[in-house]
C-alpha cells in the first residue's frame, strides 16, 4: 500500500514536469497555430543557464531566475527571427524550420558549454527527505517540483481566466481576426505568449537540473513524451495538457513499477523482465493510440 502511494506520488511528479513543457507547447499551438519542435531546446537552454549560474554564484534563486530568463530570451529571439514568418505557413514548414533550429541550438550549446554533462547541486534548503508516507522517505526536492508545478498550473489558470492578457489569449485561440480588430498589437502578443511558453520550458529545465542529466540532447529526449501529452490532452488546451501530463505520468510510472512483478507472476523468468521493459516503453504510445481512437481530437479539444 505504501509502495502504491509512493508510486502514485512519483507519477504525479513526472506528470508535473511534463506539464510545464507541454503547457508552453500547447499554448503556442493554440494561439499561433505553430508547432514548435524546438521547445525541448528551450528546456535545455534553461537547464544549462541555470546550471552555469548555480556553479558561478552558488545561489539557487539566481540560478532559477537566470535559467528562465535565458530560456524566455532565446525563445523570444527565435520567435522574432524565424517563427514570426511561419504563422501563415503550413505545419510542414514549421516542423522543418524548428527541426533546423534544434540542430543549431544543440551544436551551439555544445560549442558554448562543452560535451561533458554538467553538475547541479540540489539547493541546500531542499535537500534530504521527509516521511509523508510512514516508512517511505520522499525527497523534499521532488515534493518541491510537485508544488511548483501545481502553483504554475494554478497561475496559468488565473492568467488565462482572469486577466486581460488571458482574455486576449483565449480570444486569439478562437478568432485571430477579432483580436486584431480590438486594436491589439498581435505581433507583440504572439512574442509575449511565445516568451511565456519558453519561460515555462526554462523553468522545467532549471528544475530538472539537479534530478536529470544536464547535457546537450536532453531536450529531444523529453520532447516526444511531451508531444504525447499534448496530443492526449487535446492540442491547444492548457487544461488538456494538465490532464494529459498527469495521465502520462501516472500510466508510465505505474507500468514501470508494477508490470514486471505482474508478468513475473504470469510467465516468470528473465523473459518476463525483458517483456515488461519493452511493454513499459511502449505504454504511453499505446495510451495515446487508444485515446485518439476514442477521441481523435484528444481529451479536451480546444476548438470544439
Amino acid at each position: 500500500m505504501a509502495l502504491l502511494l509512493e508510486q502514485l506520488l512519483n507519477g504525479l511528479q513526472l506528470g508535473v514536469m511534463l506539464f510545464l513543457l507541454a503547457a508552453g507547447l500547447t499554448l503556442v499551438f493554440g494561439i499561433m497555430g505553430v508547432i514548435n519542435l524546438a521547445q525541448g531546446s528551450l528546456y535545455m537552454v534553461g537547464a544549462f543557464a541555470g546550471a552555469a549560474l548555480a556553479a558561478r554564484t552558488g545561489s539557487a534563486t539566481l540560478s532559477l531566475l537566470g535559467g528562465i530568463a535565458a530560456a524566455a530570451a532565446v525563445g523570444m529571439a527565435m520567435e522574432l527571427a524565424v517563427l514570426r514568418r511561419l504563422y501563415r505557413r503550413g505545419h510542414l514548414d514549421q516542423v522543418l524550420a524548428t527541426f533546423g533550429m534544434i540542430l543549431f541550438l544543440n551544436q551551439a550549446m555544445t560549442m558554448l558549454a562543452g560535451r561533458q554533462p554538467l553538475f547541479v547541486a540540489v539547493p541546500p534548503a531542499l535537500e534530504g527527505a521527509v516521511e509523508i508516507i510512514p516508512g517511505v522517505p520522499y525527497p523534499v526536492y521532488r515534493l518541491a517540483i510537485i508544488a511548483v508545478g501545481i502553483l504554475v498550473a494554478a497561475g496559468l489558470w488565473l492568467l488565462i481566466q482572469r486577466t486581460r492578457l488571458g482574455m486576449l489569449v483565449r480570444a486569439g485561440a478562437t478568432n485571430r481576426e477579432m483580436v486584431r480588430a480590438l486594436g491589439v498589437d498581435i505581433r507583440l502578443l504572439y512574442t509575449l505568449v511565445f516568451g511565456l511558453g519558453a519561460l515555462l520550458a526554462g523553468l522545467a529545465g532549471v528544475m530538472a537540473g539537479p534530478v536529470f542529466s544536464v547535457q546537450v540532447g536532453m531536450g529531444e529526449q523529453i520532447l516526444i513524451t511531451t508531444f504525447v501529452v499534448v496530443v492526449i490532452g487535446g492540442i491547444g488546451s492548457v487544461r488538456g495538457a494538465f490532464a494529459g501530463a498527469m495521465l502520462v505520468g501516472l500510466v508510465d510510472t505505474l507500468l514501470r513499477a508494477f508490470l514486471p512483478d505482474l508478468l513475473r507472476g504470469a510467465i516468470g523468468g528473465p523473459d518476463a523482465d525483458a517483456l515488461a521493459g519493452g511493454l513499459a516503453s511502449m505504454g504511453i504510445y499505446l495510451l495515446m493510440a487508444i485515446v485518439l481512437l476514442v477521441r481523435p481530437r484528444g481529451l479536451f479539444p480546444a476548438h470544439a
Binding site: V136, F212, V216, G217, Q221, D273
Partner: protein
Amino acid sequence: MLHRRGLLAAGALGGAALVASPLARPALAQAAPVRIGMITSLSGPGAYLGQDIRDGFLLAIEQGGGKLGGTPVALLVEDDGLKPGQGKQIAERFVGNEKIRLLTGIVFSNVLGAVLPDVLDAGAVYASPNASPSNFAGRDCHRNYWSIAWQNDSLHESAGQAAQNLGHKRMFLLAANYQAGRDAIAGFRRMYKGEVLGEIYTRLDQTDYAAELARIRAARPDAVYQFHPGGLGIAFLRQYAQAGLAELVPQVVAAPSMDSTTLAAVGEAALGMTVGSHWNSDFDVPASRAFVAAFRAKYDRLPTYYAQQGFDTALAIGGAFRNGGADLADTEAFRKGMLKADFASTRGRFRFGPNQHPVQDWFMLKVERGADGKPALVTKAKILSDHGDAYAAQCRL
C-alpha cells in the same frame, strides 16, 4: 526545349557535386606521413566520450613530436554523430578515396558494426580504442582488427567479481533496455554467483527513475548493480541519492557507469560506490602518472578512461610501427609488430590474447572523498589478473 535543358543542367550539377565533394578535401599527403583515420562521436549524446578518445590520441602524437613509434603520422578526425550510416560513409571515403589503411576512434558498438566489415574487406586495419562487441572477439575475429580497450563483457565481469569479493548475497540489477544493457547484465552474472532479486530494463529515453527506485527500496537488496551510460547514469545516480538509497544500499557498477566525467556531474551522490575498471587516474604506474599530468596540463581536466584508451591506442600503434609495421601496405608486418604490444601501457601489464583483444588486470575502485574534499575514484584492490575474455576460444586466427 527549355525543360530539357533544365533537366540536363540538374543532372550535370548533381554529377559534378557528387564527384567533386569527396575531392574537395585538400590533399594532406605532401610530407607523406602515415595517415590515420579517426571516426568518432563528437555530437549527440555521449559526445564527450569521442572527444576524450580524440584528445588522448592527439596527446600521444604530440608527445611523440608528431610521430608514433618514430613514424610521422597525420590524424584525420570526423564526427559520426553516433549514426552508423554516417560512420560508414566516412569510412568509405577514408578507405576508398583517401587510401587510408589504418582507422580508429569509434566509440559505440552500433557504429563499429556498420563500419568494420567494409574496412576489413578493403584490407585496412582497425584498432579499437573503445567498443569491442562479442562477435568480433569470437566468431568474427579478424587479423586486421585489434581492441586496445577491453572486450565489452570484461567491464561487467569485473563488476560481478567485485560484488562477489565484497560478499553481497542478494542483489538488484538494472540496465537500459538495449543490447549493451543486456550484455552488461549477462557479463555481470557470469562472475556474480549470489541471488538476483530482480532485473529491470529501463527505457532508453527515460529520465525519471522514481518508479524503479521505489521497487529497489521495497526489495531491500544488499547491493545494486546498474548499467546506464552517460546522461542516463547521471540522472539515475542523482535520483538514487536523493531518494536516500545511497546510504542504505551500496552500488557496484562497471566503469562506463562511473567515469570521472560522470563523477564530476554527480558529485557527492556517488560517494561509496564500487567500480570495476581496468584503469584509474590514480594508478601508481609511471606511464599513467605522466599521462595524467600531461593530459591535465594540456586540457585542464582529469582524463577519463576513454582518454586513457585513446592514448594507449596511439601508443600501441606506435609500438607496431617501431617493430617493423610502419608500412601499412603490409598488414602482416603491422600485425607482427602489434602483437609484441611493445609500449608502456598506462595500465601497467598489457598483452594481446589470441583474438587480438587485451589480456589485462582488473581493479576495484571506490568513490571516496579526496584530499580536496571532493569525491574521487580511488583504486582499492586488484580483483582479476591476466583476464582475457570469454569469446577468445571461438576465435580462429
